[in-house]
Amino acid sequence: MNVMISHLEAHNLTKMYDGSLALEQVNVRALARQVTSIVGVNGAGKTTFLRILAGLDTPSEGKILIDAMEFRPEELRTHCTMVFQKSVMLGGTVYDNVAYGLRVNRTSKQDIPSKVKFALSIVNLNGFEKRKARKLSSGEQQRVAIARALALERDVILIDEPTANLDPANATIIEQSIKESAQSRVVLLSTHNLPQARRLSHRTVHLHRGRVVEEGDTASFFANPRDKRTKLFINGELQF
């Protein structure tokens, strides 16, 4: 599908796990050609939120809308893809990993090599095609994971704390790739690295204990946080 969406919206999203609310009435709107970051302390619900958006979990209540049309989890999976905090490599070469999604989605054989090459170029891994993915360093693996997601050319990419535990060199490359990928899709990024959120995102959402506490344009979010908890969070004093 070459037609791009314009926005992704979570509407009154609620998720219950074992009797406790992981997410409560979450309303978030993410626009195309922008990076929207979800920030918050550990356990705030960021990962849960992203997984629901990716179609990997079903919300207890609420809906996900793309361009104002409701999508069910199975359908979401074809429009969204997710990069996880700790990336899992498939048991083949780097090429196989990046090409997997394309093959599985039945992209024609002629198109695959060029798409793989392009995806790898964004994460600076050209030349790594024949290496065994599982033998790479964790930074390189994370870059492969991003290339994997990019190769699918989906409308929405959800990225969960991509640079936690990575060295600065890899982190920089990854941030660069996120910026590049945002040029043509909706990108939602979850992080508790505040400088990163400031660097990359256009809009920032503060999630705390499953609720949206504050959201807004990144600059004003950090300069003038309205909510008391956000102020504490930015100062590093907020606890769960």
Binding site: V3, M69, G92
Partner: protein, 421 residues
């Protein structure tokens, strides 16, 4: 742009609705109870390898190569086996159920080789088990005939309409073996006397007896010997000198050897193990009436409901062979070169020549039913095996062999006996 997107989405939705099966997976929340077994079967056995998009070619070919190697090895084994076993034309199969002590002497394979040489279209298989199980196997129709040495069970086999046409083939004697030191002093004594001495020595702690303790023919004989001196196994079990091995003849002999004890054994197994230097036990009590061991063959009854599929013709052919001159000669020959003595005595020449009346008397007492090796009601289309013709030959043979000892009354005795047989 948005409208086009929406339109495409609706098309996708429609397409999806046409493929009715919903996603079924162990998804985090999405738990359905649809098992999809047939799909899984087809998938794992056929479709899985082609769907491994993420594996490089080399990994796949290694797996394929390994599978290929296994298949090739299997194919070679199969080919080798097939070549050696099936290169001969298919034959009629005869399944003979027999006892382990008889089979393990090796005489049956010897008989089989000669029988199949004479009748190349026959293929004889021996199933060797304990006596009880051997007879049961035949009762189920899984064997075509039995070759055993347990007269009581044989009679039940005939009487229950499982078997017909019993023929006595051969005989030998059980022996009591023990340590060469012979602490109980039984050498040369009668079996009853020997057992009494063993018991008293045992109670004194100077001797040990090892019993088979299974339901074999040998064990039955042992039980009857104890019974003849008024002792039951239940009694004996509680006494410390009486050990029950619960296993086959060789294992029992090895145990007796270890414990320097006495035991009852058949000649064949004893000689095999003695010659192999597995045991040092010596033969102490030998042939006598109570130690008689008689081997007979009985065919399955073709009229029995369980036995309609059995090879009755083959069984009769084999039985006739075994009682023929050739077959009986084989019994007489067996073991001479290996052990220096015959393991079996053929019965038919003895019955024909009537040369040893005492011995014949013992056999008649021990292994005949209603005065015959096979009473008339248990015969089937095989009167020639039991007719007076055979006895006329007997009469003539013994006249030729022993003219000097010929006497009228003996003549009468032979004649009446032949009428009964």
């Amino acid at each position: 742009m948005s409208m086009l997107f929406a339109h495409n989405k609706k098309l996708a939705e429609l397409e999806r609705r046409l493929n009715t099966k919903e996603e079924n997976s162990l998804g985090e929340d999405v738990k359905k109870h649809d098992v999809d077994f047939v799909e899984i079967v087809i998938f794992t056995t056929i479709c899985c390898p082609p769907m491994t998009h993420h594996l490089s070619r080399s990994a796949i070919t290694r797996v394929q190569a390994s599978i290929l190697i296994v298949v090739v090895v299997c194919g070679i084994a199969l080919a080798g086996y097939a070549y050696s076993s099936f290169s001969v034309p298919p034959k009629t199969r005869l399944v003979v159920s027999t006892t382990t002590s008889l089979y393990e002497t090796g005489v049956l394979d010897y008989l089989k080789t000669n029988f199949e040489a004479k009748y190349p279209g026959m293929n004889v298989s021996f199933i060797s088990q304990g006596t009880g199980l051997a007879i049961q196997t035949a009762m189920r129709g899984d064997a075509d005939m039995i070759l055993v040495h347990a007269p009581t069970s044989e009679y039940q086999f005939l009487n229950g309409s499982y078997g017909v046409n019993r023929k006595i083939l051969a005989y030998n004697f059980f022996i009591i073996v023990g340590p060469s030191a012979d602490p109980a002093g039984i050498a040369g004594k009668s079996p009853a006397d020997a057992l009494k001495r063993i018991r008293s020595a045992g109670l004194n702690g100077t001797a040990v007896w090892v019993s088979r303790g299974d339901n074999s023919g040998t064990y039955s004989k042992e039980v009857s010997l104890w019974k003849s001196i008024g002792l039951t196994v239940t009694q004996l079990r509680s006494e410390k000198w009486y050990l029950e091995a619960g296993s086959g003849m060789t294992a029992t002999l090895l145990l007796a050897n270890q414990k320097l004890g006495y035991t009852l054994s058949d000649m064949g197994t004893y000689l095999q193990n003695f010659n192999n230097h597995n045991i040092d036990l010596v033969k102490l009590v030998g042939a006598s009436k109570s130690m008689l061991n008689v081997y007979s063959a009985i065919s399955d009854n073709p009229n029995n409901a369980n036995m309609t599929k059995t090879n009755y013709a083959g069984a009769m052919q084999f039985i006739r062979y075994l009682v023929s001159d050739e077959g009986q000669q084989l019994f007489a020959n067996y073991g001479v070169s290996q052990y220096g003595q015959a393991l079996f005595q053929p019965y038919v020449p003895l019955a024909m020549s009537q040369s040893n009346q005492t011995l014949l008397g013992w056999i008649h007492d021990y292994a005949f039913f209603q005065g015959s090796e096979c009473p008339a009601q248990f015969r089937y289309n095989a009167d020639d095996l039991y007719t007076a013709q055979a006895s006329a030959l007997t009469w003539l043979t013994s006249y030729v062999l022993h003219p000097s000892s010929w006497a009228t009354e003996r003549k009468m005795a032979y004649w009446t006996q032949s009428q009964r047989a």
